[in-house]
Symmetry: C2
Subunit: 259 residues, 2 copies
């Protein structure tokens, strides 16, 4: 029997902060006919609110640390404000969404990132996705909307990379469904020239990926994104694309990741 | 066939802010053997955070108004911070909780409170509870934890009275289950003397309720709570109790509401 197609879509924080782009994106997302899962980033809103609350951004060796105040703000802004507003907007479009963080339904279990040179604080690396719970929602016609917050068994919430959440959810769903993964961010795809938005590479396979890395063409921000893509591809996700807020439209310009 | 018992429990904001009481309450809640639903208030945390963010509390005729900034803060604090932390703490106790606001799964639909003398802003009065969705969670062994936020079909989130959410959810569930409703707040029950915490009235029926009201014995804060209780009692909820953070313990002192 052919597996049902499920689409996992990640929307980046910068797109969420642009009201027009978000509106258009949510229209497109609502119109997707397959069962679907949305994972959203948070953007700079958490930083702004942390500043207003008088919380200092803690950096070690140029890396941001998620201290006790930061995880509070992230839970408020990502898990509350952004998540619930996206859900309400999807409901208004006839999409029966449900807003979740990793603790809800034990859906995304993580453990604190190991302390090597740096203690990142409340940053969690995913150890388990509860695919059967997520699948039970999809089978009821309910569309999960995840903020990038996970939890550990002892009741601690953890800040988690949104691209990793998307990749891990897609990998877990691919055991049950024919799973596709779309990353929507501020660029039209992977660019050969970071200053030229039109220099989109249409298709990247592993060989080209390694070449581009060796030639230093891929910008630093793209490296973990592409790493997540190939990880997902090697674990059963069938179709992976990177593009901007128009990615879900037919005939969008984008980068396709292939084996 | 006898209906399954479901317990709807409301925990007030002041109890949530007391770390020891909350811990103990969540232990007791986790140990309840029936399927259960938790509704939580928010307490003063939202006001404190609003102040820190520089948002003024808007009052009209001594009544608090939920303006655009207030509903933002409520969504952050009640829908995010408090809700997700309670869920994570329940998960740590082996209770498979899911944190929801009214928009999630279209569970609590409301409409903006009608403007008469006062425009309360983003305050919603409940028009529909999605009982079949809530029931589908319970049947999967998933325990819903609601913040007191509802939504309208046009995608707006609304601040909603937590006691009303509890009463309306209990009323809706009573069509499917033998539903019990517990209000946990800072007192041991309804008091004959507001300054004497031990003056708990063990049982209140409608006749006594009217007598107490006429004699001015019931404090102003208790009036809407008791109104909600009798409403729920008349709409199929079988057992209603009011008490403090120990209410869920066996042999707790409390007030029972009876027909």
């Amino acid at each position: 029997m052919e597996k049902k197609v499920v689409k996992v879509v990640k929307i980046g924080g910068k797109l969420i902060e642009d009201e027009n782009k978000l509106r258009e994106f949510l229209n497109d997302f609502s119109e997707l006919e397959t069962p679907k899962i949305l994972i959203h980033g948070g953007g700079s809103m958490a930083t702004k609110i942390a500043q207003k609350l008088g919380y200092e951004t803690k950096m070690v060796d140029g890396r941001r640390i998620t201290d006790a105040n930061s995880i509070k703000v992230i839970t408020m802004v990502y898990g509350g404000l952004i998540n619930k507003n996206i859900v309400a907007k999807l409901q208004a479009r006839g999409t029966n969404a449900i807003g979740l963080c990793g603790a809800d339904g034990a859906s995304i279990v993580s453990k604190k990132r190991e302390v090597k040179e740096i203690d990142f604080g409340f940053v969690g690396d995913i150890v388990k996705i509860n695919a059967s719970f997520i699948s039970s929602l999809l089978e009821q016609g309910i569309i999960p909307v995840f903020s990038a917050i996970s939890y550990s068994g002892d009741g601690q919430l953890y800040n988690t990379n949104g691209d990793s959440v998307a990749a891990e959810v897609a990998k877990a769903m691919s055991a049950i469904y024919d799973t596709e993964l779309d990353f929507c961010f501020e660029k039209k795809g992977v660019l050969t020239d970071v200053d030229n938005d039109e220099s989109v590479i249409k298709e990247i396979d592993e060989q080209l990926y390694k070449q581009l890395m060796n030639r230093g063409v891929i910008s630093e921000g793209m490296l973990p994104k592409l790493h997540n893509c190939f990880q997902a591809l090697h674990h059963g996700v069938t179709k992976i694309r990177l593009g901007d807020s128009n990615l879900l439209k037919k005939n969008s310009v984008h980068t396709k990741i292939v084996k």
